[in-house]
Amino acid sequence: MKRSLMGRKVIVFFLIPALSLIFVFLILPGVWVLKIGMTNETLTGAKARNPDFVGFENYAKVLSDRFFYNALRITLLFVLGSAIIGQAGLGLSLALLTYRRRRLKSFIQSVVILAWIIPEVVVAYLWIAFLDKDYGTLNMLLSAIGLRKINWFYEHPLLTIIVFNVWRGTAYSMLLFSAALETIPPSYLETAEVIGASSWRKFKDVILPNIRSYILTDLILITLWTFNVFTPYLLTGGGPSFRTELLSIYIYRTAFRYFKLGYGASIATVALLVNFALAMFYLSLSRRKRT
């Protein structure tokens, strides 16, 4: 057995603040949501005062709720498009592109990080100003070169929020991959160069195996973040006609616009389970790698 740096008591002592925070702000609300999810509590009406315990009735309802499936489908497409293909793909490409090019790297990193650090509400206004049907910059440009103005939020709502989220969140993946690339010993790539390996072979046989665990870490994090993101609400409000209604927006709408607190909580629980399943999937991938 390895000798640890500190005694058991000291470890427990140092863990208490963190654990109590997790308990108060994570576990307790989680249990609370589970509890409310088994009632028909509402925010107005008689059930606001005297909610009934309904057991798993809400969950049965969720599983036959067309809005739920709509939201789940849109969320999965959103995660696939904006997180996995978009942020991770673009982040990796940018990291490779700027690998060992100091000036280009600092320029691109500044630009990409800028998109990442602007407050969400500001970003939402910027994008609305950019994409507005009549006054948006993009449509002004399109019509200046003789093309048709496009009502982006109406005609391509899902694509719009996917592109938005890629723009918004690529910085994280890019930074992570840039750092990961730095960990590859230069001699590996130099050797590959000497024996005349093509770029693709260098990528596939040298770079990829070395940063695989970083890719998994990145995917697990951005998948979960993207799954629960709410910012697109500021752009489209979940519309038009629920075509950008992510699961998080559907939960919000159910609980705080239509005041069905209990039902909203049960959808949130299901969303939590989906998150859990996704996390498990990625963890199993990383475990398979190790063996």
């Binding site: 925010l43 009406g45 005062r49 239509y258 005041f259």
Partner: protein
């Protein structure tokens, strides 16, 4: 150190003891939504504060009605919230059921003006035998139109359609003669929230002799030919002939966008309530006001479908009013504040800033004789006899959402009219139960 602490504690106690405060929340904000309401409070609050020796605070929020409702509900559920709530009358039943409002019969006993309120208005504010709301104003609904655009298109004004067909015919002319102008704005979809149900859906449905609720049988109507015709009318406007802009209805902040387009003369006809004219388009509204509103904007009564058995004209009324938070600590003071707000003089002043259809007889008389507000006088005289109210039961908001969804599914072409009605019937039955619904021929 200790002295310092004592000093702070004592001053806190003193502030609490002396600084009695009454708070009022209204969905109004200076320079924006219902800006006139803020102006009015700013005029009268100092007087009341001086008179009672307390502080009266107005909490301003210029947001969507649905968001305003959520804010109030969460405030009260959390054990707080403003003392006086200026809310929509149809929220009363669900709020009362939740235990959010304080019955105000004792407060009203102190308010001399209460005896002048019309019975129908008293009914709007009461639920299960108790009163919860003092109506501040009521309204009627109609079609507004831009006279200048009509003239450009060669349509004679004043204009008064006699049937839905007349509206369609006029809209076709606008579409042909004035490209770039949306011929008609008939609210649709869930984004507009209750504004879709009241301003759009109900105004059409009533015209076909239909309703959401059968008052005699006490059942919700899930299918009827009136409902089918209503949706076909929507379909004709938004899908078949593109006389309205379906995409606009679905866009975030749709309602405010249509106000802006109407101000820019890019919408010709707009079905809306009294409020639209007296608050949104009011020359004193910096956001959407029209300086020459009285000359430029006309109104017509909303006609029925046009079949012999249909009503000639239709209107539906809502109204807002003052309710008292159940968490209110000092009802006596609230009574004093309310009493002063409801004096004739401030009420007439409010009327001048933001004219309304009056809920009380003493004001109605002085409004029509003293102020001679042409718009209110004429619309009241023409429309009050046709008007009706919503079935504002606690379950109403859920049914209303289904009605909004119904219009949305039709105007976006997601579903055929029959399919959408099928869905509506299914969902409403789920909400209220099989025994509480009815199908009509």
């Amino acid at each position: 150190m200790r002295k310092w602490l004592v000093a702070v504690l004592v001053s806190i106690v003193v502030v609490f003891a002396l600084g009695q405060k009454v708070t009022i929340i209204a969905n109004a904000i200076k320079g924006g939504k219902n800006t006139q309401v803020v102006d009015w409070f700013e005029k009268y609050i100092p007087e009341i504060e001086k008179d009672l020796g307390i502080k009266v605070e107005l909490i301003q929020t210029g947001i969507k009605d649905e968001d305003f409702k959520a804010r109030i509900v969460l405030d009260i559920k959390g054990g707080g919230g403003a003392d006086i709530l200026w809310i929509d009358g149809f929220w009363v039943p669900e709020f009362v059921e939740a235990g959010y409002l304080r019955p105000i019969d004792d407060i009203l006993a102190e308010i001399p003006a209460w005896k002048y309120y019309y019975d129908s208005m008293k009914a709007m504010g009461s639920y299960k035998g108790k009163t919860y709301l003092v109506p501040a104003s009521t309204d009627v609904r109609m079609i507004y139109y831009n006279k200048e655009l009509f003239k450009k298109a060669g349509i004679p004004v004043p204009w008064q359609p006699k049937s839905w067909e007349d509206i369609i015919k006029t809209a076709r002319i606008i579409k042909e003669k004035l490209p770039g102008v949306i011929p008609i704005q008939l609210n649709a979809g869930t984004e507009m929230g209750e504004a879709t149900t009241m301003q759009g859906f109900f105004m059409v449905l009533l015209g076909a002799g239909g309703n959401l609720y059968d008052w005699q049988l006490g059942k919700w109507i899930i299918k009827s030919s009136a409902l089918r015709d209503t949706l076909n009318f929507y379909k004709q406007i938004y899908v078949d002939e593109k006389l309205g802009d379906a995409a606009l209805q679905m866009s975030p902040g749709a309602r405010e966008k249509t106000f802006e387009l109407f101000r820019q003369e890019k919408i010709e006809m707009y079905v809306e309530g009294t409020w639209f004219y007296t608050s949104v388009l009011n020359p004193n509204n910096p956001s959407w006001g029209l300086p020459d509103r009285d000359e430029r904007i006309g109104w017509a009564a909303m006609p029925g479908r046009g079949k012999p058995q249909d009503p000639e004209f239709v209107s539906i009324s809502g109204g807002t009013g003052f309710a008292v938070n159940v968490n209110c600590k000092n009802p006596k003071l609230v009574a004093e504040v309310l009493k002063r707000l409801l004096y004739v003089e401030p009420q007439l002043s409010y009327f001048q800033m933001k004219p309304f259809v009056s809920p009380r007889s003493d004001l109605a008389d002085s409004c029509w004789t003293v102020n001679k507000d042409k718009f209110i006088a004429e619309t009241s005289r023409a429309l009050v006899k046709y008007t009706t109210f919503r079935p504002a039961f606690p379950v109403y908001p859920e049914i209303s959402f289904q009605a909004q969804l119904l219009t949305e599914r039709v105007i976006t072409g997601q579903m055929s009219v029959d399919k959408a009605i099928e869905e509506f019937a299914k969902e409403v039955t789920k909400i209220v139960g099989k025994e509480n619904v009815i199908e009509k021929p």
